[in-house]
Amino acid sequence: MFEATEINRKNLTRQKLFRLLLGGMTASLILPVALIMGTLIIKGAPVISFDFLFTSPTNGMTEGGIFPALLGTILLVLVALLASVPLGVAAAIYLSEYAPDNWFTRAINLAIINLAGVPSIVHALFGLGAFVLFFRFGTSILAASLTLAVMTLPVVIVATRESLQAVPMAFREACWNMGATRWQTIRRIVLPNAVTGILTGVILEVSRTAGETAPIMFTGAVFFLPFLPQGVFDQTMALSLHLFVVSTQVPEMPEAVPYGVALVLIGMVLLMNSASIALRMYLRGKKKW
Protein backbone atom coordinates (compact mmCIF):
# COMPACT_ATOMS: atom_id res chain seq x y z
CA MET A 1 0.00 0.00 0.00
CA PHE A 2 2.76 2.43 0.83
CA GLU A 3 5.36 1.18 -1.66
CA ALA A 4 7.83 3.85 -2.66
CA THR A 5 7.31 5.18 -6.13
CA GLU A 6 10.10 6.23 -8.43
CA ILE A 7 9.59 9.90 -7.36
CA ASN A 8 9.59 9.00 -3.66
CA ARG A 9 12.91 7.21 -3.98
CA LYS A 10 14.43 10.06 -5.93
CA ASN A 11 13.31 12.61 -3.34
CA LEU A 12 14.61 10.46 -0.54
CA THR A 13 18.02 10.07 -2.16
CA ARG A 14 18.26 13.80 -2.73
CA GLN A 15 17.24 14.53 0.82
CA LYS A 16 19.98 12.24 2.14
CA LEU A 17 22.53 13.76 -0.18
CA PHE A 18 21.80 17.34 0.85
CA ARG A 19 21.66 16.51 4.50
CA LEU A 20 25.11 14.98 4.19
CA LEU A 21 26.39 17.94 2.19
CA LEU A 22 25.08 20.60 4.57
CA GLY A 23 26.19 18.65 7.62
CA GLY A 24 29.63 18.13 6.13
CA MET A 25 30.04 21.83 5.41
CA THR A 26 29.05 22.65 8.97
CA ALA A 27 31.56 20.13 10.29
CA SER A 28 34.30 21.60 8.12
CA LEU A 29 33.82 24.89 9.93
CA ILE A 30 35.14 23.33 13.08
CA LEU A 31 38.28 22.18 11.30
CA PRO A 32 40.20 25.48 11.15
CA VAL A 33 39.33 26.27 14.75
CA ALA A 34 40.43 22.85 15.89
CA LEU A 35 43.65 23.05 13.86
CA ILE A 36 44.54 26.50 15.19
CA MET A 37 43.81 25.64 18.79
CA GLY A 38 45.53 22.24 18.46
CA THR A 39 48.70 23.69 16.95
CA LEU A 40 48.84 26.49 19.48
CA ILE A 41 48.37 24.18 22.41
CA ILE A 42 50.85 21.55 21.22
CA LYS A 43 53.55 24.02 20.28
CA GLY A 44 52.83 26.84 22.72
CA ALA A 45 51.81 25.14 25.94
CA PRO A 46 55.33 23.99 26.91
CA VAL A 47 56.62 27.59 27.25
CA ILE A 48 53.71 28.77 29.36
CA SER A 49 54.60 28.99 33.00
CA PHE A 50 54.14 31.39 35.88
CA ASP A 51 57.40 33.09 34.95
CA PHE A 52 56.34 33.40 31.30
CA LEU A 53 53.16 35.18 32.30
CA PHE A 54 54.50 37.37 35.07
CA THR A 55 58.03 38.47 34.15
CA SER A 56 59.41 40.90 31.61
CA PRO A 57 61.14 39.78 28.43
CA THR A 58 64.94 39.73 28.59
CA ASN A 59 67.85 39.18 26.26
CA GLY A 60 66.34 40.83 23.17
CA MET A 61 62.97 39.27 23.99
CA THR A 62 64.25 35.76 23.31
CA GLU A 63 64.03 34.93 27.00
CA GLY A 64 61.89 35.88 29.96
CA GLY A 65 58.15 36.46 29.97
CA ILE A 66 55.44 38.61 28.44
CA PHE A 67 54.01 40.37 31.49
CA PRO A 68 54.24 43.96 30.15
CA ALA A 69 52.42 42.93 26.98
CA LEU A 70 49.74 41.03 28.87
CA LEU A 71 49.18 43.92 31.26
CA GLY A 72 49.21 46.37 28.34
CA THR A 73 46.50 44.52 26.46
CA ILE A 74 44.32 44.35 29.55
CA LEU A 75 44.79 48.09 30.14
CA LEU A 76 44.06 48.94 26.51
CA VAL A 77 40.87 46.89 26.54
CA LEU A 78 39.68 48.32 29.85
CA VAL A 79 40.24 51.95 28.91
CA ALA A 80 38.65 51.34 25.50
CA LEU A 81 35.60 49.80 27.21
CA LEU A 82 35.35 52.71 29.63
CA ALA A 83 35.15 55.05 26.66
CA SER A 84 33.01 53.09 24.23
CA VAL A 85 30.43 51.35 26.42
CA PRO A 86 28.89 54.45 28.04
CA LEU A 87 29.02 56.35 24.76
CA GLY A 88 27.73 53.47 22.65
CA VAL A 89 24.95 52.47 25.04
CA ALA A 90 23.82 56.08 25.44
CA ALA A 91 23.75 56.61 21.68
CA ALA A 92 21.87 53.35 21.17
CA ILE A 93 19.26 54.29 23.78
CA TYR A 94 18.74 57.63 22.12
CA LEU A 95 18.48 56.12 18.65
CA SER A 96 16.13 53.37 19.73
CA GLU A 97 13.92 55.14 22.26
CA TYR A 98 13.94 58.85 21.53
CA ALA A 99 15.08 59.69 18.01
CA PRO A 100 12.31 60.62 15.60
CA ASP A 101 12.42 58.83 12.27
CA ASN A 102 13.79 61.63 10.09
CA TRP A 103 16.68 62.23 7.71
CA PHE A 104 19.04 63.15 10.55
CA THR A 105 18.48 59.88 12.40
CA ARG A 106 18.85 57.94 9.18
CA ALA A 107 22.10 59.79 8.45
CA ILE A 108 23.43 58.83 11.88
CA ASN A 109 22.46 55.20 11.33
CA LEU A 110 24.20 55.22 7.97
CA ALA A 111 27.29 56.74 9.57
CA ILE A 112 27.37 53.98 12.18
CA ILE A 113 27.14 51.27 9.55
CA ASN A 114 29.92 52.92 7.55
CA LEU A 115 32.07 53.29 10.64
CA ALA A 116 31.81 49.52 11.11
CA GLY A 117 33.14 49.00 7.60
CA VAL A 118 36.21 51.21 7.89
CA PRO A 119 39.43 49.12 7.78
CA SER A 120 41.41 49.10 11.00
CA ILE A 121 44.48 50.65 9.40
CA VAL A 122 42.39 53.71 8.52
CA HIS A 123 41.24 53.90 12.13
CA ALA A 124 44.91 53.74 13.09
CA LEU A 125 45.76 56.75 10.96
CA PHE A 126 42.69 58.59 12.25
CA GLY A 127 43.76 57.87 15.82
CA LEU A 128 47.25 59.10 15.05
CA GLY A 129 45.92 62.34 13.60
CA ALA A 130 43.14 62.96 16.10
CA PHE A 131 44.25 61.65 19.47
CA VAL A 132 48.05 61.54 19.24
CA LEU A 133 48.62 64.80 17.37
CA PHE A 134 45.51 67.01 17.53
CA PHE A 135 44.52 66.34 21.14
CA ARG A 136 48.22 66.01 22.07
CA PHE A 137 47.79 62.76 23.99
CA GLY A 138 51.04 61.57 22.39
CA THR A 139 51.55 57.90 21.65
CA SER A 140 49.93 56.63 24.80
CA ILE A 141 47.53 54.12 26.24
CA LEU A 142 44.82 56.81 26.15
CA ALA A 143 45.30 57.54 22.45
CA ALA A 144 45.44 53.84 21.55
CA SER A 145 42.40 52.96 23.65
CA LEU A 146 40.35 55.81 22.22
CA THR A 147 41.26 54.66 18.72
CA LEU A 148 40.11 51.15 19.61
CA ALA A 149 36.96 52.60 21.16
CA VAL A 150 36.04 54.52 18.01
CA MET A 151 36.67 51.38 15.99
CA THR A 152 34.42 49.20 18.12
CA LEU A 153 31.66 51.74 18.83
CA PRO A 154 29.44 50.49 15.98
CA VAL A 155 29.47 46.99 17.46
CA VAL A 156 28.28 48.27 20.82
CA ILE A 157 25.68 50.61 19.31
CA VAL A 158 24.20 48.05 16.95
CA ALA A 159 24.09 45.27 19.54
CA THR A 160 22.57 47.56 22.16
CA ARG A 161 20.01 49.02 19.79
CA GLU A 162 18.94 45.59 18.64
CA SER A 163 18.55 44.28 22.16
CA LEU A 164 16.51 47.37 23.10
CA GLN A 165 14.27 46.84 20.12
CA ALA A 166 13.80 43.20 21.09
CA VAL A 167 11.90 44.36 24.18
CA PRO A 168 8.24 44.18 23.12
CA MET A 169 6.56 47.49 22.28
CA ALA A 170 3.58 46.44 24.41
CA PHE A 171 5.72 46.77 27.56
CA ARG A 172 6.54 50.37 26.74
CA GLU A 173 2.94 51.18 25.88
CA ALA A 174 1.73 49.67 29.13
CA CYS A 175 4.13 51.92 31.02
CA TRP A 176 3.34 55.05 29.04
CA ASN A 177 -0.36 54.50 29.58
CA MET A 178 0.30 54.46 33.31
CA GLY A 179 1.76 57.93 33.12
CA ALA A 180 5.41 56.92 33.03
CA THR A 181 7.83 59.18 31.18
CA ARG A 182 10.04 57.75 28.47
CA TRP A 183 12.99 57.69 30.82
CA GLN A 184 11.07 55.95 33.61
CA THR A 185 10.03 53.33 31.07
CA ILE A 186 13.59 52.87 29.85
CA ARG A 187 15.03 52.73 33.33
CA ARG A 188 12.52 50.31 34.84
CA ILE A 189 11.42 48.08 31.98
CA VAL A 190 13.47 48.40 28.80
CA LEU A 191 17.06 48.46 30.06
CA PRO A 192 16.77 45.61 32.60
CA ASN A 193 15.43 43.39 29.82
CA ALA A 194 18.05 44.43 27.29
CA VAL A 195 21.09 43.86 29.48
CA THR A 196 21.86 40.42 28.08
CA GLY A 197 21.97 41.75 24.53
CA ILE A 198 24.12 44.70 25.55
CA LEU A 199 26.56 42.30 27.20
CA THR A 200 26.79 40.36 23.96
CA GLY A 201 27.86 43.51 22.21
CA VAL A 202 30.46 44.18 24.86
CA ILE A 203 31.81 40.64 24.56
CA LEU A 204 32.22 41.04 20.82
CA GLU A 205 33.95 44.33 21.42
CA VAL A 206 36.39 42.85 23.91
CA SER A 207 37.34 40.07 21.53
CA ARG A 208 37.97 42.44 18.69
CA THR A 209 39.76 45.05 20.80
CA ALA A 210 42.18 42.60 22.38
CA GLY A 211 43.33 41.21 19.04
CA GLU A 212 43.70 44.38 16.98
CA THR A 213 47.25 45.36 16.04
CA ALA A 214 47.16 48.08 13.43
CA PRO A 215 45.20 50.74 15.36
CA ILE A 216 47.50 50.59 18.38
CA MET A 217 50.77 50.35 16.47
CA PHE A 218 50.77 54.07 15.58
CA THR A 219 48.97 55.35 18.62
CA GLY A 220 50.36 53.85 21.79
CA ALA A 221 51.83 50.37 21.57
CA VAL A 222 55.56 49.83 21.26
CA PHE A 223 57.87 46.89 20.50
CA PHE A 224 59.62 46.93 23.82
CA LEU A 225 59.56 48.91 27.03
CA PRO A 226 61.98 48.30 29.87
CA PHE A 227 59.37 49.43 32.43
CA LEU A 228 55.66 49.05 33.06
CA PRO A 229 53.27 51.91 32.13
CA GLN A 230 52.61 54.22 35.09
CA GLY A 231 49.46 55.88 33.72
CA VAL A 232 47.26 56.34 30.67
CA PHE A 233 49.69 58.82 29.11
CA ASP A 234 52.48 56.23 28.98
CA GLN A 235 53.19 53.96 26.07
CA THR A 236 52.70 50.28 26.55
CA MET A 237 53.49 46.88 25.09
CA ALA A 238 50.56 44.77 23.88
CA LEU A 239 50.10 41.08 23.19
CA SER A 240 48.99 41.43 19.60
CA LEU A 241 51.92 43.66 18.66
CA HIS A 242 54.28 41.53 20.72
CA LEU A 243 53.17 38.48 18.75
CA PHE A 244 53.94 40.31 15.51
CA VAL A 245 57.34 41.31 16.86
CA VAL A 246 58.43 37.92 18.17
CA SER A 247 57.28 36.10 15.08
CA THR A 248 58.82 38.43 12.47
CA GLN A 249 61.23 40.95 13.92
CA VAL A 250 63.55 39.11 16.28
CA PRO A 251 66.28 36.84 14.92
CA GLU A 252 66.99 33.56 16.69
CA MET A 253 63.68 33.58 18.50
CA PRO A 254 62.93 30.19 20.07
CA GLU A 255 60.17 28.64 17.97
CA ALA A 256 57.83 27.99 20.89
CA VAL A 257 57.62 31.62 22.09
CA PRO A 258 55.33 33.04 19.35
CA TYR A 259 53.00 30.08 19.82
CA GLY A 260 52.97 30.69 23.54
CA VAL A 261 52.13 34.40 23.06
CA ALA A 262 49.33 33.53 20.64
CA LEU A 263 47.97 30.96 23.06
CA VAL A 264 47.92 33.52 25.88
CA LEU A 265 46.16 36.06 23.67
CA ILE A 266 43.49 33.61 22.56
CA GLY A 267 43.18 32.22 26.07
CA MET A 268 42.63 35.69 27.48
CA VAL A 269 39.90 36.48 24.98
CA LEU A 270 38.22 33.12 25.57
CA LEU A 271 38.38 33.64 29.31
CA MET A 272 36.73 37.05 29.11
CA ASN A 273 34.14 35.70 26.70
CA SER A 274 33.22 32.78 28.89
CA ALA A 275 32.93 35.02 31.94
CA SER A 276 30.55 37.28 30.04
CA ILE A 277 28.62 34.33 28.63
CA ALA A 278 28.21 32.91 32.13
CA LEU A 279 26.96 36.29 33.37
CA ARG A 280 24.60 36.50 30.43
CA MET A 281 23.15 33.07 31.09
CA TYR A 282 22.69 33.94 34.75
CA LEU A 283 20.83 37.15 33.87
CA ARG A 284 18.76 35.46 31.20
CA GLY A 285 17.71 32.81 33.68
CA LYS A 286 16.33 35.55 35.88
CA LYS A 287 14.41 37.48 33.24
CA LYS A 288 11.69 35.97 31.13
CA TRP A 289 8.55 36.86 29.30
Binding site: P100, D101, A170, F171, E173, A174, C175, W176, N177, M178, G179, A180, T181, Q184, R188, I189, P192, N193, K287, K288, W289
Partner: protein, 271 residues
Protein backbone atom coordinates in the same frame (compact mmCIF):
# COMPACT_ATOMS: atom_id res chain seq x y z
CA UNK B 1 -30.11 40.72 31.13
CA UNK B 2 -31.21 40.58 34.72
CA UNK B 3 -28.17 42.55 35.74
CA UNK B 4 -28.77 45.05 33.02
CA UNK B 5 -32.25 45.60 34.35
CA UNK B 6 -31.27 46.07 37.97
CA UNK B 7 -28.61 48.53 36.99
CA UNK B 8 -31.19 50.41 35.01
CA UNK B 9 -33.60 50.61 37.85
CA UNK B 10 -31.29 51.42 40.70
CA UNK B 11 -29.11 54.01 39.11
CA UNK B 12 -30.08 57.57 38.90
CA UNK B 13 -27.06 57.62 36.66
CA UNK B 14 -28.77 56.00 33.83
CA UNK B 15 -29.00 56.94 30.54
CA UNK B 16 -32.46 57.37 29.32
CA UNK B 17 -31.89 60.98 28.47
CA UNK B 18 -32.59 62.13 32.01
CA UNK B 19 -29.12 61.29 33.27
CA UNK B 20 -28.15 63.81 35.89
CA UNK B 21 -24.57 62.86 36.68
CA UNK B 22 -21.87 65.21 35.43
CA UNK B 23 -19.99 64.70 32.21
CA UNK B 24 -16.70 62.90 32.78
CA UNK B 25 -15.44 62.94 29.26
CA UNK B 26 -16.66 65.23 26.55
CA UNK B 27 -15.76 64.56 22.94
CA UNK B 28 -16.48 67.13 20.25
CA UNK B 29 -15.88 66.64 16.55
CA UNK B 30 -13.02 64.27 17.18
CA UNK B 31 -11.13 63.13 14.10
CA UNK B 32 -8.02 60.98 14.08
CA UNK B 33 -5.75 60.57 11.09
CA UNK B 34 -2.71 58.41 10.46
CA UNK B 35 -0.38 58.69 7.51
CA UNK B 36 -2.25 55.81 5.95
CA UNK B 37 -5.59 57.57 6.21
CA UNK B 38 -8.37 58.54 8.61
CA UNK B 39 -9.14 56.29 11.57
CA UNK B 40 -12.02 58.22 13.08
CA UNK B 41 -14.06 61.10 11.74
CA UNK B 42 -16.12 63.73 13.46
CA UNK B 43 -17.19 61.88 16.58
CA UNK B 44 -19.16 63.80 19.20
CA UNK B 45 -20.29 62.14 22.41
CA UNK B 46 -20.39 62.59 26.19
CA UNK B 47 -19.50 59.99 28.75
CA UNK B 48 -20.97 60.55 32.19
CA UNK B 49 -19.53 59.76 35.57
CA UNK B 50 -20.14 56.28 36.89
CA UNK B 51 -21.47 54.88 33.72
CA UNK B 52 -20.15 51.98 31.73
CA UNK B 53 -19.96 53.25 28.19
CA UNK B 54 -19.71 50.50 25.62
CA UNK B 55 -18.18 50.85 22.18
CA UNK B 56 -18.86 48.12 19.66
CA UNK B 57 -17.96 47.77 16.03
CA UNK B 58 -15.97 45.61 13.62
CA UNK B 59 -12.21 45.79 13.11
CA UNK B 60 -10.82 49.11 11.82
CA UNK B 61 -13.79 51.01 13.17
CA UNK B 62 -11.49 53.39 15.08
CA UNK B 63 -12.27 52.05 18.56
CA UNK B 64 -8.66 51.64 19.72
CA UNK B 65 -7.63 54.97 18.17
CA UNK B 66 -10.42 56.59 20.16
CA UNK B 67 -8.95 55.27 23.42
CA UNK B 68 -5.44 56.30 22.40
CA UNK B 69 -6.61 59.83 21.76
CA UNK B 70 -8.14 60.07 25.23
CA UNK B 71 -4.84 59.00 26.79
CA UNK B 72 -2.83 61.37 24.57
CA UNK B 73 -0.82 58.49 23.14
CA UNK B 74 -0.35 60.59 20.00
CA UNK B 75 2.61 62.00 21.90
CA UNK B 76 4.44 58.72 21.27
CA UNK B 77 3.29 58.31 17.70
CA UNK B 78 4.13 61.24 15.43
CA UNK B 79 2.01 59.71 12.66
CA UNK B 80 -1.15 60.13 14.72
CA UNK B 81 -2.97 63.44 14.21
CA UNK B 82 -5.89 64.42 16.41
CA UNK B 83 -8.42 67.14 15.57
CA UNK B 84 -11.38 68.19 17.64
CA UNK B 85 -11.73 68.57 21.35
CA UNK B 86 -11.68 66.12 24.24
CA UNK B 87 -12.44 67.35 27.74
CA UNK B 88 -11.69 65.41 30.91
CA UNK B 89 -13.62 66.78 33.90
CA UNK B 90 -14.15 69.88 31.82
CA UNK B 91 -10.47 70.43 30.98
CA UNK B 92 -9.38 70.38 27.36
CA UNK B 93 -6.78 67.59 27.34
CA UNK B 94 -4.92 68.99 24.35
CA UNK B 95 -4.01 71.95 26.57
CA UNK B 96 -2.88 69.83 29.53
CA UNK B 97 0.80 70.46 30.19
CA UNK B 98 1.26 67.53 32.54
CA UNK B 99 -0.02 64.71 30.34
CA UNK B 100 1.58 62.25 32.75
CA UNK B 101 -0.82 63.45 35.42
CA UNK B 102 -3.72 62.97 33.02
CA UNK B 103 -2.63 59.45 32.13
CA UNK B 104 -2.16 58.49 35.74
CA UNK B 105 -5.89 59.15 36.29
CA UNK B 106 -6.81 56.85 33.41
CA UNK B 107 -6.33 53.11 33.69
CA UNK B 108 -5.94 51.13 30.47
CA UNK B 109 -6.37 47.41 29.79
CA UNK B 110 -5.22 46.06 26.45
CA UNK B 111 -6.61 43.32 24.21
CA UNK B 112 -3.66 41.04 24.87
CA UNK B 113 -2.61 40.80 28.50
CA UNK B 114 0.66 42.58 29.19
CA UNK B 115 2.35 41.09 32.22
CA UNK B 116 5.48 43.16 32.54
CA UNK B 117 8.62 41.08 33.15
CA UNK B 118 8.58 42.04 36.81
CA UNK B 119 7.31 40.13 39.81
CA UNK B 120 3.56 40.07 40.40
CA UNK B 121 4.09 42.46 43.29
CA UNK B 122 6.22 44.87 41.26
CA UNK B 123 3.70 44.84 38.42
CA UNK B 124 1.01 46.20 40.68
CA UNK B 125 3.36 48.46 42.66
CA UNK B 126 4.78 50.00 39.49
CA UNK B 127 2.30 52.83 39.02
CA UNK B 128 2.41 54.01 42.67
CA UNK B 129 6.20 53.81 42.52
CA UNK B 130 6.28 55.82 39.31
CA UNK B 131 4.23 58.40 41.16
CA UNK B 132 6.92 58.48 43.85
CA UNK B 133 5.46 56.26 46.59
CA UNK B 134 8.23 54.42 48.45
CA UNK B 135 6.64 53.41 51.75
CA UNK B 136 6.66 49.60 51.82
CA UNK B 137 3.63 49.27 54.09
CA UNK B 138 1.49 51.52 51.89
CA UNK B 139 2.61 49.65 48.79
CA UNK B 140 1.66 46.35 50.44
CA UNK B 141 -1.83 47.66 51.11
CA UNK B 142 -2.26 48.88 47.54
CA UNK B 143 -0.99 45.63 46.03
CA UNK B 144 -3.28 43.48 48.13
CA UNK B 145 -6.29 45.71 47.57
CA UNK B 146 -5.86 45.90 43.80
CA UNK B 147 -5.17 42.20 43.35
CA UNK B 148 -8.18 41.38 45.49
CA UNK B 149 -10.43 43.67 43.49
CA UNK B 150 -9.16 42.18 40.24
CA UNK B 151 -10.15 38.72 41.60
CA UNK B 152 -6.56 37.52 41.46
CA UNK B 153 -5.31 37.78 45.06
CA UNK B 154 -6.23 34.24 46.14
CA UNK B 155 -4.37 32.72 43.20
CA UNK B 156 -1.13 34.67 43.58
CA UNK B 157 -0.88 35.65 47.24
CA UNK B 158 1.67 32.89 47.88
CA UNK B 159 3.83 33.76 44.89
CA UNK B 160 3.97 37.50 44.67
CA UNK B 161 7.66 37.13 43.83
CA UNK B 162 7.16 35.07 40.70
CA UNK B 163 7.24 36.77 37.32
CA UNK B 164 4.02 38.43 36.19
CA UNK B 165 4.85 37.57 32.61
CA UNK B 166 4.83 33.86 33.45
CA UNK B 167 1.25 33.76 34.73
CA UNK B 168 -1.44 32.22 32.54
CA UNK B 169 -3.19 34.46 30.02
CA UNK B 170 -6.32 34.91 32.12
CA UNK B 171 -4.29 35.65 35.24
CA UNK B 172 -2.14 38.13 33.35
CA UNK B 173 -5.24 39.96 32.17
CA UNK B 174 -6.47 40.25 35.76
CA UNK B 175 -2.96 41.37 36.71
CA UNK B 176 -3.24 44.07 34.05
CA UNK B 177 -6.55 45.17 35.58
CA UNK B 178 -4.98 45.19 39.06
CA UNK B 179 -2.17 47.32 37.65
CA UNK B 180 -4.65 49.73 36.09
CA UNK B 181 -6.51 49.97 39.42
CA UNK B 182 -3.28 50.64 41.30
CA UNK B 183 -3.27 54.10 39.73
CA UNK B 184 -6.56 54.73 41.53
CA UNK B 185 -8.04 55.99 38.23
CA UNK B 186 -11.26 57.95 37.70
CA UNK B 187 -11.59 56.45 34.26
CA UNK B 188 -10.95 52.86 33.29
CA UNK B 189 -10.65 52.03 29.60
CA UNK B 190 -10.80 48.41 28.51
CA UNK B 191 -9.92 47.51 24.93
CA UNK B 192 -11.40 44.13 24.01
CA UNK B 193 -10.09 42.69 27.25
CA UNK B 194 -11.66 39.27 26.73
CA UNK B 195 -10.00 38.36 23.42
CA UNK B 196 -7.32 36.19 25.02
CA UNK B 197 -9.23 35.17 28.12
CA UNK B 198 -11.29 32.06 28.82
CA UNK B 199 -15.07 32.42 29.39
CA UNK B 200 -14.90 31.81 33.13
CA UNK B 201 -12.29 34.51 33.66
CA UNK B 202 -14.26 36.81 31.38
CA UNK B 203 -17.31 36.41 33.62
CA UNK B 204 -15.23 37.06 36.73
CA UNK B 205 -13.80 40.23 35.23
CA UNK B 206 -17.27 41.35 34.17
CA UNK B 207 -18.44 40.97 37.76
CA UNK B 208 -15.47 43.05 38.89
CA UNK B 209 -16.39 45.78 36.42
CA UNK B 210 -19.97 45.93 37.71
CA UNK B 211 -18.61 46.58 41.18
CA UNK B 212 -16.07 49.15 40.01
CA UNK B 213 -18.78 51.17 38.36
CA UNK B 214 -19.73 52.74 41.67
CA UNK B 215 -16.26 54.26 41.94
CA UNK B 216 -15.22 55.14 38.44
CA UNK B 217 -16.27 55.70 34.88
CA UNK B 218 -15.62 52.82 32.53
CA UNK B 219 -15.23 52.77 28.76
CA UNK B 220 -15.64 49.25 27.49
CA UNK B 221 -14.54 48.64 23.93
CA UNK B 222 -15.65 45.17 23.08
CA UNK B 223 -15.75 42.77 20.18
CA UNK B 224 -18.58 40.90 21.87
CA UNK B 225 -21.93 42.53 21.29
CA UNK B 226 -23.46 40.52 24.13
CA UNK B 227 -20.77 41.73 26.52
CA UNK B 228 -21.81 45.31 25.84
CA UNK B 229 -25.40 44.24 26.42
CA UNK B 230 -24.51 42.65 29.77
CA UNK B 231 -22.45 45.57 31.07
CA UNK B 232 -22.88 48.86 29.30
CA UNK B 233 -25.41 51.50 30.25
CA UNK B 234 -25.06 53.20 26.91
CA UNK B 235 -23.31 51.92 23.83
CA UNK B 236 -21.87 53.54 20.76
CA UNK B 237 -21.59 51.72 17.47
CA UNK B 238 -18.49 52.63 15.44
CA UNK B 239 -18.13 51.61 11.81
CA UNK B 240 -15.25 52.52 9.49
CA UNK B 241 -14.27 55.57 11.50
CA UNK B 242 -17.81 56.83 11.88
CA UNK B 243 -19.86 56.87 15.05
CA UNK B 244 -23.07 55.47 13.61
CA UNK B 245 -25.19 55.43 16.73
CA UNK B 246 -25.15 56.14 20.46
CA UNK B 247 -28.01 54.97 22.60
CA UNK B 248 -29.11 53.20 25.74
CA UNK B 249 -27.63 49.75 25.23
CA UNK B 250 -30.84 47.77 25.32
CA UNK B 251 -32.33 49.96 22.61
CA UNK B 252 -29.68 48.73 20.19
CA UNK B 253 -31.12 45.27 20.56
CA UNK B 254 -34.82 45.74 21.05
CA UNK B 255 -35.78 49.36 20.68
CA UNK B 256 -35.74 51.86 17.88
CA UNK B 257 -32.43 52.24 16.11
CA UNK B 258 -31.53 55.30 14.12
CA UNK B 259 -29.59 53.40 11.51
CA UNK B 260 -30.35 49.98 10.11
CA UNK B 261 -26.63 49.11 10.03
CA UNK B 262 -26.61 49.09 13.83
CA UNK B 263 -29.30 46.45 14.04
CA UNK B 264 -27.62 44.42 11.31
CA UNK B 265 -24.35 44.47 13.24
CA UNK B 266 -25.75 43.55 16.66
CA UNK B 267 -27.74 40.76 15.11
CA UNK B 268 -24.64 39.42 13.39
CA UNK B 269 -25.59 40.08 9.80
CA UNK B 270 -22.18 41.59 9.13
CA UNK B 271 -18.95 42.33 10.95
Amino acid sequence: MVDGKTVKEDASLVTDGTNQSPIKLGVENLSIHYETGPALENVTLDIREHEIFGIIGPANAGKTSFLKAINRMDMFNPEMKIDGKITFDGTDISKVRNVYGLRSRIGVVFPLPVGLPLSVYDNVALAPRLAGLKNKAELNVIVERCLTRAALWDEVKDRLDSLGSMLSGGQQQRLTIARALSQDPDLLMLDEFSIAVDPVTTMRIEDVLKELKSEMTIILVTNLVQQARRLADRTAFFLDGECVEISVTEDLFTGEVGDQRTRDYVEGRFG
